[in-house]
Structures are given as structure tokens and as C-alpha cells.
């Protein structure tokens, strides 16, 4: 909690990526979250294309601290037969709150047909879908702008807000064109002025704080928001109020 606002990190991982120091040890995450004032982190496991293996790991992780972590379901069109059953299981039985997709782990740009059943599921359930986006040909934010109008009951979150300048411009254009497109802030590229640009050009009500924990420590990532030249009201929206609205958290 920061100054009365519940802080929600919209982008986090379950799983180990040892060579980069990414360790999903709850104590490590909780210490960093507590030090920064982060109440809850949304987490997902993107390392298993069947979905089920990683989603079960996510569920076990969340179950250790259900008041601090929110599970998102991961599926991949690499195994199309398992996608819809796994989405249903994770949402209905594991009580996950949204969907995470990682196009670079597939050959298909996110606007191509193999992804469509996932979007239809999200649209039918009124769920949020967060994508990894960036300069990879599968992950261009402009593709989010192409799919968003066809699924008006779903909300689409452009993870990393495109990450780099050209792709960030695509992300902003997609959000400006479609009210169901949101931009999420985590990035290893902490260029000056980015948060201000997102808030100015898209609106504070469409920007979501994310950290990429535990690949990255959430403290410098939340520091981007806190030290940005935006109003306190905008900070409250970005840091938590928008996520609570999107995930329907009271």
C-alpha cells in the first residue's frame, strides 16, 4: 500500500531462469514487494507449451500466499488441442484471473489464426489478455491494434508497452485507437520520459504498472512510476487502480 492506494504489479513470473538470476523463491519476491509497497503481483509461467505444467506450478506458488499473488493462465498454440481445455481449467478450477501469451515462443505473429481461439475465449469470458510485445516479428504491438476491435469484451494489455521506441509508438497508436487496449510498463529499457509519454498520449487510466519480477527486481520498476513527472492521481491509477478495475478486484 502506498499512500492509501493498493499497489498491483501486473507482470510477474513463476519459474526459474537460473542463468539470469531469476528465482521464484517467495521470500525473495515478498521482500522486494514489501520494501517497495507492492501489495499483490500477477504471476504466470511461460516455460511449458502444454500450459498445464506451468499453470499447476503457478497455482502452487499462488497457494503459498494467496493474498499476495494472482495467477494468470498461460497457453500456447504450439499444442492447439490443449489450449481451450486448459484455459477453462485454469480459469474455472484454478481461479486464475487473466491470460498471458508469449508470441516469441511460437512461429506465429499474434494476429494470426492459431491465436484466435484464445481471443474468442477471453471475449466470451470478459477476460484480460497480456502479451509480451517488442521488436520480435511475432510480438509487434501493432498486431494488438488489429485484433482488439474484433473482441470488444476482452481487454488486451501490451506488455512492456512495446519495449523500444518504434514498437512503443505502435503500442500507443493501438491504445489510442481501441478502448480495450492497455499498456504495461515493465522494461529493462528504462528510458527517461517513457512513463510521462504513455500517460500523456494514452491517458493514465490505460497504463498498468508491471515489473517482470523475479527476472527483474520490482523496486526500480516501480521507481519508474514514482519518480515520473505525472500527477499523484495518475500514479494511483497506474500503480493499482487500473489493475483492480481490469481484474475486478474490490
Amino acid at each position: 500500500m502506498i499512500d492509501g492506494t493498493q499497489i498491483i504489479d501486473f507482470h510477474g513470473h513463476v519459474g526459474r531462469w537460473d542463468r539470469y538470476g531469476m528465482l521464484d523463491e517467495p521470500a525473495l519476491l515478498l521482500h522486494a514487494m514489501d520494501a517497495a509497497g507492492i501489495d499483490r503481483s500477477c504471476v504466470f509461467n511461460i516455460f511449458h507449451p502444454d500450459g498445464t505444467t506451468g499453470n499447476d506450478l503457478t497455482a502452487r506458488f499462488v497457494a503459498q500466499h494467496p493474498d499476495r499473488f494472482i495467477g494468470f493462465v498461460y497457453v500456447s498454440p504450439l499444442l492447439p488441442a490443449t489450449m481451450l481445455p486448459e484455459l477453462g481449467r485454469a480459469i474455472d478450477q484454478l481461479h486464475f484471473a487473466a491470460i498471458k501469451l508469449y508470441p516469441p515462443y511460437t512461429p506465429w505473429p499474434l494476429n494470426e489464426a492459431p491465436w484466435a481461439p484464445i481471443y474468442e475465449f477471453a471475449n466470451a469470458r470478459g477476460l484480460a489478455v497480456i502479451f509480451h510485445t517488442g521488436p520480435e516479428p511475432q510480438s509487434l504491438p501493432k498486431f494488438v491494434g488489429e485484433i482488439a476491435p474484433y473482441y470488444p469484451n476482452a481487454n488486451f494489455v501490451v506488455g512492456h508497452a512495446g519495449n523500444t521506441p518504434i514498437e512503443r509508438a505502435q503500442a500507443i497508436a493501438a491504445a489510442q485507437a481501441h478502448p480495450n487496449v492497455y499498456l504495461e510498463t515493465c522494461s529493462t529499457f528504462r528510458n527517461p520520459g517513457v512513463i510521462e509519454q504513455l500517460v500523456t498520449e494514452v491517458g493514465a487510466d490505460r497504463v498498468l504498472f508491471g515489473s517482470d519480477l523475479p527476472l527483474m527486481d520490482p523496486r526500480p520498476q516501480i521507481g519508474k512510476i514514482i519518480t515520473a513527472r505525472i500527477s499523484d492521481a495518475a500514479k494511483r491509477l497506474v500503480l493499482g487502480d487500473n489493475a483492480r478495475r481490469l481484474l475486478q478486484i474490490n
Binding site: I2, D3, T5, R19, Y20, G21, M22, L23, L28, L29, H31, A32, A35, A36, G37, T188, F189, R190, N191, P192, G193, V194, L213, P214, L215, M216, D217, P218, R219, P220, Q221, I222, G223, K224, I226, T227, A228, R229, D232, K235, R236
Partner: protein, 252 residues
């Protein structure tokens, strides 16, 4: 305790600010006054600065552009870039003779085929050691094996390793162990919990706050450092004291 607004509670001396335009990236701060306003906004009192032109184009010409950013006060401290070669070394020797060198920054020659190997760099590093001039070394362009092999031949040389990223995670502990006079600048080092872990293993004396503005915003890492288990004394070292010690109290 976090709040929606943050100011540092210790004096801050930024170890790594880039000024001026890169060929592909104009600086958001167009002059010294704008840079000082940005530093003031984030509570940064002083900074070591180098010119963007020295990164990929010319250390000699880029150093010449640095003069326009230096004022009569000591808020901005010059860091001159250097490479092996007569023109570059003569320039730095002249500046040193004028008492204007408190640190230098390594210009990447590896992409032009000159590796950071003893046969190529020993004369330069020997001179820096003899003059007690600390050397900033950007990690993104550096071969780790060359770094260790070459610097171990100059145990008295003080170095600051700049720009470590999470992709360098496996390297940092060996580097700090094998190079006892090396320090880690923290501008983009974000593996979870690692600043506190490195403090525990190597001491706060080995860590330096740097923003690497204008590549990165000034505030986020400063916020991070203020929300760790570092004591206020350790925080003061990381944010300013270590850099003051490394520069030897000399202001350029």
C-alpha cells in the same frame, strides 16, 4: 516505506551520466542548465559526465565537446574517454598535466578488431595505474575473459564496471572476486535482490549509484537503493562516498 513522491535522503553523486547527442539519439537535456534542472528534480547534487560522441565515434573529438558542459562549480565532473593510440593518449596526458583528469572511460576498440588483451592495452593501463587514474569500463561491449586476464596484470588499477545487466548475472561474482579493485556501477543491474546480496558478499564499498542518464532515467535506481536493507551509512557510500573516494577528492 514508499510514498507517491520520492526524494533521496542522502547526498547523491551520480557516477555515470552521458551528455550531448549520440548520432542516433539526441539528448533530452540540450545544455548544462537543463541537465542541472533534471538532476535537481531527482535530488542529485553532482555527477560524473562523459560525452555521447565518445561512445561510438571519437573519444578525442567527443572529449573536446565535453568542455561546454563544465561550469565554474564542481557539480559536473569531467570523465574523459580514452583508447590506445597516440592522439587519444596525448590528449589525456595533456589534460592530466593540467590537473583536469580524475577518471577516464574506456572507448570500445573490440568492434574494430583491437581486443582488450595485454599486448594491446598494457602500456595504457600501466600509465593509468602509475598516475592513479581510475578507469570506467562499459561491460556491454566487453569480453569477460579479456577483462579478467588483462586487468589481473594491473592489480593496482581502480576500475568501475559500468552497465551490468541481468544477462551479466553469472559474471558479476567472478569479476568482483577476481578483480579486488573493481567496483560495480548499478544503473541497469536489476536481478531480484542482488544489490543486497552483493552488499552482503562484497561490501557496500564495491557498489556505485549511476543512472547512465540519458540512456536511462535518473530516478528509478535511486528509488531502489533507498528501499533496500542497506543502512544509511551504506546508502551514503553507494550514492556518493565510494565515488568520492575513487576520484580521490579531485574535481576536474
Amino acid at each position: 516505506m514508499s510514498t507517491l513522491n520520492f526524494k533521496p535522503r542522502v547526498a547523491v553523486f551520480d557516477a555515470n551520466i552521458r551528455v550531448g547527442d549520440r548520432y542516433d539519439e539526441p539528448s533530452p537535456c540540450r545544455d548544462r542548465a537543463a541537465l542541472l534542472r533534471e538532476m535537481d528534480h531527482h535530488g542529485i547534487g553532482r555527477a560524473v559526465i562523459y560525452h555521447a560522441q565518445t561512445e561510438e565515434i571519437s573519444p578525442v573529438e567527443g572529449n573536446q565537446f565535453l568542455d561546454a558542459w563544465l561550469g565554474a562549480d564542481d557539480r559536473l565532473v569531467a570523465q574523459w574517454s580514452i583508447m590506445p593510440g597516440a592522439a587519444s593518449q596525448a590528449q589525456i596526458e595533456t589534460l592530466h598535466a593540467q590537473g583536469r583528469v580524475s577518471s577516464v572511460r574506456l572507448h570500445d576498440t573490440g568492434t574494430a578488431g583491437l581486443p582488450f588483451r595485454p599486448w594491446a592495452y598494457d602500456p595504457l593501463l600501466h600509465w593509468l595505474s602509475a598516475q592513479r587514474i581510475p578507469l570506467w569500463i562499459p561491460l556491454p561491449s566487453m569480453d569477460a575473459d579479456e577483462l579478467v586476464t588483462t586487468l589481473q596484470g594491473h592489480p593496482g588499477l581502480i576500475t568501475v564496471l559500468v552497465g551490468a545487466h541481468y544477462v551479466h548475472h553469472l559474471l558479476i561474482r567472478p569479476l568482483l572476486t577476481l578483480l579486488p579493485n573493481a567496483h560495480l556501477e548499478l544503473s541497469r543491474y536489476e536481478p531480484i535482490g542482488e544489490i543486497e546480496a552483493l552488499r552482503d558478499e562484497f561490501g557496500a564499498e564495491r557498489l556505485l549509484y549511476g543512472s547512465w542518464y540519458s540512456r536511462y532515467a535518473m530516478g528509478p535506481m535511486l528509488f531502489y537503493l533507498h528501499h533496500t536493507r542497506l543502512s544509511d551509512a551504506e546508502l551514503a557510500l553507494v550514492c556518493a562516498g565510494n565515488l568520492e573516494r575513487i576520484l580521490g577528492g579531485v574535481t576536474a
